[in-house]
Each structure stands twice: as structure tokens, then as C-alpha cells.
Symmetry: C2
Amino acid sequence: MANSASGESIIGRFVKIVSAFDDSHPSMSVAELGRRTGLPVTTAYRLVNDLLLERLLDREPDGNVHIGTRMWELVSRGSKMVGLREAALPFMEDVQAVVQHSTTLGILDSDEVLYIERIGSHSTIVDITKIAGRLPLHATSSGLVLLANATPEYQESALARPLAKFTETTLTDPPQLRRHLAEIRQRGYAVMPGVIVKESSGIAVPVYGPDNTVVAALSVVVPRNEENVPARVPVLMASARGISRALGWRGELKGALRQSR
Amino acid sequence: MANSASGESIIGRFVKIVSAFDDSHPSMSVAELGRRTGLPVTTAYRLVNDLLLERLLDREPDGNVHIGTRMWELVSRGSKMVGLREAALPFMEDVQAVVQHSTTLGILDSDEVLYIERIGSHSTIVDITKIAGRLPLHATSSGLVLLANATPEYQESALARPLAKFTETTLTDPPQLRRHLAEIRQRGYAVMPGVIVKESSGIAVPVYGPDNTVVAALSVVVPRNEENVPARVPVLMASARGISRALGWRGELKGALRQSR
DNA sequence: GGTGGATTACCATTGAGCGGGAATCCAGAG
DNA sequence: CTCTGGATTCCCGCTCAATGGTAATCCACC
């Protein structure tokens, strides 16, 4: 599929173009866009023009282009992320009001945690999560909660991959991780002290969807030296239940299982 | 541009496909997607497959497709909307905590207000604004604030368009609207009683960017029968200044102008 | 087992996309 | 003022990916 010499479809190039923009490159000239994407100059200009016509990209007065308002609008209107985010936000604010550091909501996507919402104190400490940012599963509390509730096959394939070690406390040994996952499943939450950044700890709990599957992880990041970290767990759990209910989740997992037997 | 008999480019069809999804149609079968977009069946299937390969669409277990997680991710990561939203959210929460009804942030796009963020009480009253939703400029407080701060040419072209009348209080007469816009510009806020829905009033104030231009409107919706609506204005203004500062706005508009003379 | 919808497979046709090359525009340096 | 390097637009012939009919297949439900 593709007219191009390099054998890519337009869709593929579209993805390249959109991917070229991020926090540090929110807008750029078409020439630079061409360079970043590796597209032939002429092709880049033609493609960008097409996208400008449909308002998927917007042109600024200085000629630079950036992701179009229309694009954001269409995707936001159609995507299920927004619904999840809206359901979660009020509860996340409650958590944030009590815990005071940084509260995030993440989902499992392509063997990583994808953070779809984050609220933090204005003067946020060390915290590398960003909205629409990704982090590895094994090195985050959110990731471990999501992984612990995934299918066994998925877990194994995730553990089979090479696991990066960020600090001394990062678990990278599959058997050890397996035990940890079992523990998380049983306890219902994950605590990770200084796994990515030494100075902070993450705590995460699962959020359920209507069909009783885990659809997201709610988590907070707190300074590692805080005295009683597990004391934060109940707030998180209560809020996660609130989000789950708002998503259409009904009743208790264990209860439902017992009844069905 | 386009191989298609109908003379559309792939980009155009891509837009059609993405547009087919919204709140009430978050996912659908490929066949239905084809019908909604008016694309030939075969073409719809081929296109959808391409999009699935790039993960711009996701397939559900039942075969239905929906906007892909990757798509949301790419757009959110690159779009400037997210930055604006993040800057505004903490201040919006403050407003919401005090005013207690519904707080929105809207921008001017294609002769309409596009709402990019909204927080509301769980039991929200009558309020038709949605995230990524649109409303006409002349019938919303946000819209009037944005219009009042646009260029004169833009204002005239906006007033030249036919203006829908939603309730008795909707202003549709251009000269009357012109006076109202001048008033809003001078006062620095807009109050609109029951302009779209009879039971509620909107109040809006401008949010400034680094270059002193109005980039968004912050607004609240309150029940119309509330005694002292303008009493809400100071909170809004203070918060809007906070958002403006977070966006890089410096100092006072009038002061800056005086100095430059 | 029959019916209607969704989905996949096949395939001849063709014009939209492609991209190299050159001309033009523009800003900042000298 | 010219020079220079980058960004942008224009031009144009080639070609194969995209197109969209038709038909076969799958599947759920009555």
C-alpha cells in the first residue's frame, strides 16, 4: 500500500506528521516538519497543504504549523478517553485535595501505561508523568496494578521483554515480579518506593468498568520520606470505587463471583 | 485531488470517518461507518483496515471500531489545547468551588465557541455545553466575550451571518449586538440571561495570552433566578488573570498601552 | 435452514500521489 | 547595498496504489 517510493501509505505519513509534534515542539516550519519526519520536501509541502485545507493542521501568522484545532475537536469528541477522563476528574480532585501531591489516571496500552489525566500541585516536585505520556509497566505503581489485572498470557509476554532498571528499587526479575503482582492482586493496591525517581513513591489502585474488568489505574505520587505511605490507600480506593461507579460498574467483585457460583 | 470517483482526497475521507464518531456514537460496525460517511462499502473496509494498522482506530472484541487510543495520544501530545487546558484547570476548580454550578473554558474557532474544558457539579442542571462541543457566538456569554475582543472585520463578518434566536432574550439584531459588544469590551465581562436556555444565565470574562491577545473565555453558568448575578464577576476575573499569567501573560493591558505611547 | 446483514476476496482501470529539480521569496549578516 | 542560506512554491512526467464495482463467505437470529 502506497504510492511512495519508500512504500508508506498516506496514513502512515499522516501519523509521522502528527507524531512530529510534542511538548517541546508544539509548532514548526514545514521544512523542519519535513526533516523531522524524513519526508521529501515537496511531499511534505503537498501533504501539509492537504491537511491545512481540512484544518487538521493550523498555520500560524509566522508560517509555522501546529496540530489543528479541528483535529483536537474531532478526536476529543469521538474518543472514549474523554468520557473516562470526565468521569474520573471530580474524584481525582477529591484525592488531590487530601493527598496534595500529584494524582494521575493511567490505562494499559501497547505494553505501557498511558496517562490520560493528571492533576498536581502548582509547585510539583519530581514527577515525570505527563498527560498523553507513557511509562513502562514494571516501573510504575499504575503499571503494576494494570499488569496484575491483565490476563496471565499478557503478563507473561510483558515479563518476557527486557525490563529497564531505573533505580536500585526497580524490580526487573520476572519471578520476583510475579510474586509482587500476585500480592497486588490480592491486596488490591500497589506501592512502589522510588522505582523511577528515587525521591518519590507511587501508590495505585484499579478502576473497574461495567463488565468488572480493570479499565484504568488511579494513582498518587508522594515524597518517599513520608512517614506512613499506606495510610493513603483508603482514600485512593474509595475514589477509585467512585470512578468505577460513574463508569457503570455495579457492586462488588468478590460478591458477584460468590453469587454466580 | 483524489483517486475517488467523488473527487475526495484520502485526508477528506479520514476526516469523514473520524467525524462519524461522537458522544452518541462512540463505536460502530464498519458497515455502519460506511453508511454514515457515505463511502462505498469496499472503500470503507479498506480505509478502516489501514487506520487499524496504524492504530488510529481500535477494534473491539465484537468487531466494532472506535477512535484509537494512539490517535488520542498523538493529538493530545501535540496539541496546544492540552497546555491551555492544563494551565486553566486549577483556576477553574477554584471558580467551581465558589460558584458551584458549571465552569467552562472556550475558544474562538470557525465562527463558533469551541469548549475545550468544562467542570460541573455532579448533578448538573440545564447546561448544554460539552467538552469539544460548539455553540454560536452571539448566543453565549463566552462567545460574546471572544467576539468583542476579535478584530472589527471579524466582528462584522460574524454579525453579517444569519443569527439564530433561541429564546426571547437572544440578541439577533446587529446594531444592538454591536452596542452590546462595545459594552462588554469596556466592562470586561459579559452576562447573558437565558439566551440559549431560559432557566440559566452565563457570565464570561476574557483570558489573555503572552501577546496580550484574548485566547479564551472563562465562564460560568448559574440558575437565572439567582439574586445577584454580577456578584460572580470578580471571582471569574481574578481566576482569568491567574490563567492568563500561567499562559505567560504579563502585566496590565491598559498600562502596557499607555507606556508605549 | 433460511434470511439479512456484516465482512472478506477478487480484479481491471486510472488519475492522484509522487518527488526530483529549479525558480522564487525572504531575512539576516557583512 | 549585496550576499547567502533557508524556506517555500512551481513545474511536470511517471506510475502504481487506491478505487469500487461484483460476488463469495461468514454469522447471528428468528
